[in-house]
Symmetry: none
Subunit: 400 residues, 2 copies
């Protein structure tokens, strides 16, 4: 829904909302058994809850469209994923807990190998070791540019983040990565007047970096892509009038939540920390976003059994989440990650919402097939927030 | 979805997509049996496929809206039928295989009968015989206008197509058909400056035609409507990055596909030719649109039994279509044509999509009732293309 309208309808209340995102939740049936991960997993608690909840399937972005983690989460937070976009560089920066500011332009960097003619021979510099890469990043930090501060952070192997910090730097800068070998890295080109200075700084940085790295055997070059500034997201707590906390172990999801204006609370120990923190901070917040990464990780690895196991692990802890006594408790996924595909997919994602105002459909279990006959049907993920607001008694009547 | 976005996400691949459109597929239950055409027809192959496919119902244009063949097909090709419109004159022209150009304004014409006062007494000139009509058209071709070439083509009975060919002719021209008897044909009026010259030419043509036809007893007048130019459709192969072929026996459907930029391949012998051509050209194209007219024709005639029979005829050939080995195989309808109504209707249309990445719902057969509980639910027909692209692995991930 339109966020201006959401804000106009949102009203103060004491009710609490918990959203548990099981990353990559949806799956596909295995040929031999015709059962998906959720159908095979033993999930007595999820199944019991499904029978007394509103159940359905969310479409993360649109039919047939496979979302990245950014749009998948933004939709669940109520942002139209077609309208609000988070650049690759920003995601990469928040993914390493980098504290991005409004004057920063972030890009994802790769070390690469160049031959004597300056042509790329390996786009990942032989997947240079993480420690070696960190040492190279340290040397890149010595580069000084006129008009912008240079910040470089290692990520993993050949990957790093470049941040140019300076007033008035636009982010409409083209990639320097030709996406193939045998050619030179591209020059950065500005897509608008406000980004001309950024493009010039980027090209100067690349030239200087080539000097700094010239004696390296493998990582003697670099490419940069996904130039992006801090996205101008309407802030979640203001829009929905909810004091919002994020409980995520992985930096990228903490970062995403922070971009939306949520407080990211520490929970290094996973579910134990997440449960304890919600219990302790229930008076300080109205909305808790709980992120559970392990379903997606197993799916991405194509490990059907482990994905089943990770669903079961969550199921075991579900009673503790319910004991927290939230007025609205939701289980969702940011997208499907079928083990069969070992990748994100476009398939709709099982969803359920429990409150004291639930209608039931016909879902007997919590899985892809049964959710088809839940009371919510198949609906856009961006509708999850308004639905939660309704069930939480946090929306005023529309019209007289 | 937005076609710019579709184009941005579309990516090269070797996968193949087949769409079989069973024209007017959806029906309504007969009172005596409470069974629709699809429920009564014996369709073991369709039913078997439905059990292992994603199944649902498409809404061609919008709830309650009965589509013509144009919008019904455009939606299945991914065009928002509210946004993209094909004028009646253009449809009529492509329906007789007329090779419409960018400088042409086409209109549908009817011969009519006028009394001594110039008032219409029969809007169809007593459904003048097709051969007689063709002879009259031959005489109309003798009319010369200053500033535009006059092209006239017979259609059937009292119907013909008028095309004015000339640079800079607009098509915002009002109908000359008052849609009732007892009054004179209307003067054509321009709806904008760019169409003033067209309107003047049209009125001149009508005056000259009246002279040419003055000795006719029945067809001594004519009315013209649906003035339209070649529609500016984003071309299907470019948007979706699919080499696309249309296999349709009837000219109107070949014409529609050509307007969208597909190649219309000859298949005068119907299904035999369609199957053979796909088999032979599988390396040349990525997308095949197969049109099956007979379900609609039977429905339009109000012939329930014959529509059942036509569905069964298609069912018998289904295994041969599946043997073609497409990565995505779909069965759809452009609209419903219930024999009970002997006309197109607004009812959603049974749909199924088969690929290796299918989820199943609860549909046990392929008919209107069972499709309600398919995994796809009821959804807009315009979503068929993005869905197919996802299943074909032809969409890149959206966002990071």
């Amino acid at each position: 829904m339109d966020l201006e309208l959401a804000n106009r309808l949102a009203t103060a209340s004491n009710t609490k909302i918990i959203l548990c995102v099981l990353d990559g939740l949806g799956g596909l049936p295995r040929t031999e058994t015709q059962r998906s991960e959720l159908e095979q997993a033993d999930t007595p608690n999820l199944d019991r809850l499904a029978k007394r909840s509103e159940v359905g399937l969310t479409v993360p972005v649109g039919p047939g469209i496979t979302p990245g983690s950014g749009p998948g989460h933004l939709a669940l937070f109520g942002y139209d994923p077609y309208r609000y976009d988070i650049g690759r560089g920003v995601l990469e920066a928040v993914g390493i807990d980098f504290d991005l500011g409004p004057d920063d332009v972030a890009a994802r960097g790769n070390f690469c190998t160049l031959d004597a003619g300056g042509n790329i021979t390996d786009r990942r510099a032989g997947r240079v070791a993480t420690e070696r890469s960190a040492a190279l990043v340290e040397r890149l930090r010595g580069i000084r540019l006129n008009g912008a501060e240079v910040l470089v952070e290692p990520v993993r192997e050949h990957r790093f983040v470049l941040v140019l910090r300076g007033k008035g730097l636009g982010d409409a800068v083209s990639t320097t990565d030709p996406q193939r070998t045998g050619v030179q890295p591209l020059l950065a080109v500005a897509g608008n007047d406000g980004s001309a200075r950024t493009a010039a700084l980027v090209n100067e940085f690349v030239t200087r970096a080539r000097e700094v790295l010239s004696n390296e055997e493998k990582a003697n070059g670099l490419v940069l892509r996904g130039f992006a500034k801090y996205p101008d997201l309407p802030q979640f707590p203001r829009v929905w009038k909810l004091r919002a906390a994020a409980l995520a172990v992985y930096p990228m999801y903490r970062g995403l939540a922070r971009l939306a204006g949520m407080d990211a609370l520490p929970c290094p120990g996973g579910i134990d920390d997440q449960l304890r923190t919600i219990r302790e901070r229930l008076n300080d917040y109205d909305y808790f976003f709980v992120h559970y990464k392990y379903t997606d990780a197993a799916g991405e690895d194509g490990d059907f059994e482990r994905k089943c196991h990770m669903v079961e692990q969550f199921d075991r802890r579900l009673p503790e989440f319910l004991d927290l006594g939230a007025d609205v408790f939701m289980i969702a996924g940011d997208h499907s990650t079928p083990a069969l595909m070992a990748a994100h997919s476009w398939h709709p994602v099982p969803f359920m919402l429990h409150s004291q105002y639930c209608r039931q459909g016909f879902a007997e279990h919590f899985n892809e097939r049964e959710c088809v006959r839940g009371s919510l049907g198949t609906f856009p993920a961006v509708d999850v927030m308004p639905l939660a607001m309704g069930h939480a008694g946090r929306f005023e009547k529309y019209g007289a």
